[in-house]
Point group: C2
DNA sequence: CGATCGCCAATTCTATAGAATCTTCTTGCC
DNA sequence: GGCAAGAAGATTCTATAGAATTGGCGATCG
């Protein structure tokens, strides 16, 4: 609502991206529900901007895949439930595993050894802190640091895989991932996150060690486990099925017959 | 040029898509070379339309991945040389293998048995025709039929994998693939294609048989081989390196200072 | 009474002009 | 020769208007 407008105090040339991220967040937060029609005028008023960047943001969103653009009929929000996120994660797993497979044997050893060092240094701190209260300031910093290392590891693998296209695809999925991670994050900033971070550190270490050892099979396996584990964790707050759509806006006969899925295949211009 | 403008006699609401396809074709035909800057005004004049649909088409193209959109600096054509196609194929292989892995055990047996039947029926015809002259009308039909079967197989696997997102990603890559297949196609419509088609039939049969047997490992391996084989074939006509790009646009002072890399990391919104 | 046809409002898409901003090239100065 | 200020060019965004399409509404006809 108004929070969206406030976020648009951004640099010139980044307005579309800001709108994209804002809408993305609203979709994952469920404020924009599945099947909902997005009118450009309404969105323009909401964000306090003109039609043009709205339209462009919608096109970009269609490219990402969260909305469907039907010619002459506007944009429709796609469903985003746990199943969808699991689907995205499956694709991400396939791609990240491929990246690891390619990166193995050609990595920057120094960078990864530094990473391994940071990881092992982080581990005992986490072991200590798992017995403390979660609101500790020190813990927050530890989580923050762990997240940084997570980004570092994945970026490093991306840039080491020798395939720019693959790296770009992974980055795109990361945008999606980040959008609903924020949702899960604000859903419960409890000790669950701290426990998960500790788990993650172990998984990261396994990946790094396998990469440094040049053991391709083990590296892929470790990455696969890592992503799978993340998927289980991050989807836990999402509704298993379309949540309150039946109560509020029963315009979609979602479960009535099988036509819905066919339609989305045919007339959608999502990204082609 | 004018051919582009003629194609825009299309229905209202499909202009963007028409522009997208036209630009896509020009990119893969090499008329729009790598690193080239796409000015909206110039494109608008070329197509005889206004800025607005051009901008939107560029955003859509960025979503597909053939151009990079840099804020406040416009669009830049991505390189498409053999290496890039190989990169795309690597991603496609990862995704299609994942699709096969997921599809294995849950396929529509009847549809695949029908497919296997058609494939085995096609095979002897190809064996016969490999000794004939390539201009034979019958051969052309055989190639056409083989292509249809190829599409049928991949679509069937896509729809059987139980992951809509994955299916959509594969479709997107197929768009990219098809665009430069046209290039290779018009480059030589010689008997090479017929030989390749025969090879493909065998590879397809291997995939289908493994799927019907429920042998996941073998199915994935067959698909991997199939894609790899296709990559080798389709990249043979593409230039190994960027041909004349160094002479045309040396405006990129990439190494001036450290800001460039930060910018490209942060701002390139190719597909976010 | 029900169905088909045509018209109208709403929305989308395109065109056009112009202001603001950013990039880049040029020029002048130290 | 290197660097800063300014100008030119391009891009992005705003705003508005008009054309095209869609979907609903009522009227007419069987």
């Amino acid at each position: 609502m108004t929070s969206a407008a406030s976020r648009l105090n951004c640099d010139h040339g980044l307005r579309r991206q800001a709108i994209v991220e804002s809408v993305l967040r609203e979709v994952f937060q469920g404020r924009l529900r599945a099947g909902q029609h997005l009118a450009t005028q309404q969105l323009a008023d909401q964000f306090g901007v003109s039609h043009t960047p709205i339209r462009e943001a919608l096109i970009s969103l269609a490219g990402i895949g969260v909305i469907d653009l039907v010619p002459n009929r506007g944009a429709i929000v796609r469903r985003v439930v746990a199943k969808d996120v699991r689907e995205i994660f499956q694709v991400r797993r396939a791609l990240e595993c491929e990246a690891v497979r390619s990166a193995c044997g050609r990595v920057d050893v120094a960078a990864f050894e530094l990473l391994a060092e940071d990881l092992t240094r982080l581990k005992p701190a986490q072991a200590r802190s798992s017995h403390r209260k979660p609101n500790d300031r020190l813990l927050m910093r530890s989580v923050e640091k762990a997240r940084q290392i997570d980004s570092r590891l994945h970026d490093l693998i991306c840039s080491s895989c020798g395939n720019g296209f693959l790296a770009k695809e992974i980055t795109r999925l990361k945008t999606l991932f980040r959008a609903f991670r924020d949702l899960a994050w604000e859903h419960d900033t409890s000790q669950n996150d701290f426990r998960r971070v500790a788990e993650e550190t172990g998984e990261h270490l396994a990946i790094v060690e396998a990469l440094l050892a040049g053991d391709r099979r083990r590296a892929v396996r470790a990455m696969s486990y890592h992503i799978r584990s993340g998927a289980r964790y991050w989807t836990r707050v999402l509704p298993e099925e379309a949540p309150g759509t039946n109560g509020s806006a029963p315009n979609r006969g979602a479960g009535r017959n099988g036509r819905d899925e066919r339609k989305s295949r045919v007339c959608v211009e999502g990204n082609e």
